[in-house]
């Protein structure tokens, strides 16, 4: 009995060691491939992406207003699916960021314009992360990524624990005061599915915002990414947003 046990033990140990060793030897080949990750839109059509041209944004906040109307976002100045920040960078390096009421009320006049080095508007919305921290942490699968790359919320299933709000690095989520569930930009999924663009893109007077199909080589967002040097917010987080910006500044948070 004792001997048999020992033999079993040896066999199991040897087997485990062998498979570990095999794994270690196999590793280098797989290692090289890690540097290239095929974009998900190569495999799935359509696959939604978003682009923002900071150089075109005039800070009119039509998008914020339209978004609140289209998606029944509470009108209070602390619930937004999208908002527009204004950056004022002074020549002495001072950075001032403002988004009063998300931009809906306009922005205070910039004093001492002569001391301003540069100033611009940055619209914010769901970053459409490929590796969404919010989806990762949702305990029940009430927030999820669809097959076409959009992160959505199942409001009938959300338990309202707010973990996703903590996990979003971009602050794009809020807790809906009436529905008592998390809420955020859905890239107007209900509109995309009807062949319409998002409400914010629809009303944007300068074409600073665009939504489109990344799997289509001729689409607006594909061309936008190809023809410009684009950047994602907080790329160090490894979230791989499908929302990209042209004309960002290092001060943009």
């Amino acid at each position: 009995m004792q001997a048999l046990r020992r033999r079993d033990f040896l066999r199991i140990t040897a087997g485990a060691a062998a498979s570990l060793l095999a794994g270690a030897l196999r590793a280098p080949a797989a290692w090289a491939e890690k540097f290239y990750r095929e974009p998900p839109w190569r495999r799935k059509k359509p696959y939604w992406g978003f682009g923002v041209d900071v150089d075109k944004c005039i800070g009119c906040a039509r998008c914020v207003d339209a978004c609140k109307t289209e998606n029944d976002v509470p009108r209070e100045p602390f619930y937004f699916r999208t908002w527009v920040e204004r950056y004022v960078i002074r020549k002495d390096g001072e950075v001032q960021i403002e988004a009063p009421n998300g931009g809906l009320d306009g922005y205070p006049r910039v004093e001492d314009a002569a001391t301003v080095a540069k100033s611009f508007f940055v619209p914010k919305l769901c970053n459409l992360c490929e590796n969404s921290p919010c989806v990762q942490v949702c305990p029940v699968g009430a927030t999820f990524k669809t097959e076409d790359g959009v992160v959505l919320i199942d409001k009938k299933y959300c338990i309202g624990c707010r973990y996703c709000i903590q996990a979003c690095p971009y602050g794009t989520r809020y807790f809906h005061p009436v529905l008592q569930v998390a809420d955020k930009c859905s890239v107007c999924y209900h509109r995309l599915k009807r062949g319409l663009v998002t409400a914010c893109v629809e009303v944007c007077p300068t074409g600073a915002r665009m939504v489109g199909d990344l799997s289509d080589p001729e689409s607006n967002v594909t061309k936008f990414r190809e023809n410009n040097r684009v950047q994602a917010l907080k790329a160090n987080m490894g979230t791989e947003p499908k929302l990209v910006y042209k004309g960002l500044d290092k001060e943009v948070r």
Partner: protein, 151 residues
């Protein structure tokens, strides 16, 4: 057997509890959960079924051909009708029903300046005016037609 009778009874209680849990789970878990991914597939239908409030440019241009044509040749060509006239899906569905909004002459200046007020933050090429110097107190439409604003 007598020595571990109590442990057997505990085991039975535990197994019953687990069985109860599994039955409850089978009964309560939405049947379409996990069909497409780790979520309720029906949620997609719920979201897709949400009502649209902004009808979209094509919808407007379908009826209002003259305005659309005038605007298409102007510097406001990139703008959607609903950018100024508000969400109009309800109007598109029932043209006799809700009417498009239009800024009155009194509020027009504020309305136009929301985009065209001079500001260091706006792109340099974007046409702006200084409110206090550019014919103050005159409605913009005195000179500029909203659908074709260039003089």
């Amino acid at each position: 057997m007598k020595d571990i009778e109590h442990l057997v009874r505990v085991a039975v209680i535990f197994l019953t509890a687990i069985a109860f849990f599994l039955v409850a789970r089978a009964m309560i878990k939405p049947p379409d959960y996990g069909k497409l991914g780790r979520y309720r597939a029906g949620a997609l239908d719920d979201i897709k079924a949400l009502p649209v409030k902004y009808a979209g440019q094509a919808s407007c241009a379908g009826c209002h051909k003259a305005q659309a044509k005038e605007k298409a040749g102007s510097s406001h060509r990139g703008m959607a009708c609903e950018s100024c006239h508000g969400a109009l899906a309800a109007h598109a569905a029932a043209p006799k029903g809700p009417k498009p909004s239009k800024p009155s002459e009194a509020e027009m200046r504020r309305f136009c300046l929301r985009c065209h007020e001079a500001s260091v933050s706006r792109p340099a090429k974007f046409p702006t005016v200084d409110d206090s110097k550019h014919n103050p107190d005159v409605a913009c439409s005195m000179c500029h037609k909203p659908h074709a604003p260039k003089l």
